[in-house]
Amino acid sequence: MKKRNGFTTIELIITITLTLVIMGFLLEILFILKEIYVSNGIRTELLIKQALISHKINQDFTNYEVENIINCLDEEDECIEISFKDGPTKKLSIDRNENILKYGDFVTKLVDNSKFGEPIATSETIIGVPHVFNDTIIQIKIPITYPTYDEDFGINIIYQYNSTIISTIDDNFSF
């Protein structure tokens, strides 16, 4: 009888089909993982930048008493100047052309492709609050957006004070 070497056609077809199916799944997994890696990398950078900026500014608002906030007189960029009692005087400004945020000596460039939204700097005094409590809230909000994410990667600084005790803060500042 003849000696048979090799494989049957059916075997080969099934083997090749199975191999192609597995390779297809593996490639899909690879693409998904690569997408997650890149996307998470960018998000990580944005969140770290947010934490850094937030901490730099909040640190001063926590450690010192705000004496006054005014619009910067000599800056063309969106800028406010914050004076702290027994502390430094620092300018907070954003440069949309260079995508840079400056706070005192701290200068940081935004992550590529991210951009500033419309900043808010307001002071709101609530009428009717007893004099012994804080009655005024200062809010400094600088949104930072990135095209592929809906989230805001910016900062939101809140400072509370009693306007009957600290009456030096001019509430007409804005970006």
């Binding site: 009888m1 000696k3 048979r4 070497n5 090799g6 494989f7 049957t8 075997e11 080969l12 099934i14 083997t15 199975l18 191999t19 597995i22 593996l26 997994i29 993982l33 997650i36 998470n40 998000r43 990580t44 969140l47 947010q50 934490a51 850094l52 937030s54 901490h55 909040n58 926590t62 709101e124 609530i126 009717g128 609050v129 007893p130 409590f133 804080n134 009655d135 809230i137 809010q139 989230e151 805001d152 900062i155 939101n156 600084i157 809140i158 509370q160």
Partner: protein, 168 residues
């Protein structure tokens, strides 16, 4: 001479190898999912923005009389002050409270005991709690000292992040 039977050998081989490779990838996927979950948590819980926001809530509560809040927490496991309710917040500062929470992008604020053992047990045993799944996960995540007196602020923000600080 013994006749060699070649039928089915290649198929079995590919099935064995496929099973092995798929098992390896399932294992790697499970590990990756765990790492990704830890990553998501690290940027969702106690962010810099969130902690400073909770600190603002703490400053506000430290100024006002919170005896009703403390009593409420002692009676039950937590107090929800998200809407600045007048049974817990002095009427003269309710408007201030509402504006403050709005500016802080607060969705929910709870005051609990520092020791979260009882609250965690209550959440696990009770079918009906006002906490959503994300909040339950965050409360479960918080590291706390056992049998320590005092209170804690747990805040959920509109962007889905969470923050917590000791109140007293």
């Amino acid at each position: 001479m013994k006749k060699l039977n070649n039928k089915g050998f290649m198929m079995i081989e590919i099935l064995v190898v496929s099973t092995f490779i798929i098992s390896v990838f399932i294992y790697l996927f499970v590990q990756f999912r765990s790492i990704n979950h830890s990553y998501q948590i690290s940027f969702k819980y106690n962010t810099a923005n969130g902690l400073y926001a909770v600190n603002n809530i703490k400053n506000f509560l430290n100024y006002i009389d919170i005896i009703n809040i403390e009593n409420g927490v002692e009676d039950f496991y937590y107090v929800d002050i998200s809407e600045c309710p007048e049974n817990f917040i002095q009427s003269t500062v309710i408007e201030y409270c509402e504006i403050l929470f709005e500016k802080l992008n607060i969705e929910k604020v709870y005051i609990t005991k520092q020791d979260l053992t009882d609250l965690n047990l209550h959440i696990k045993r009770s079918q009906f709690t006002p906490f959503d799944e994300d909040t339950k996960d965050f409360i479960d995540y918080i590291k706390y000292d056992y049998k320590v007196n005092g209170y804690r602020i747990v805040a959920k923000f509109n962007d889905g992040t969470f923050g917590t600080l000791k109140l007293r």
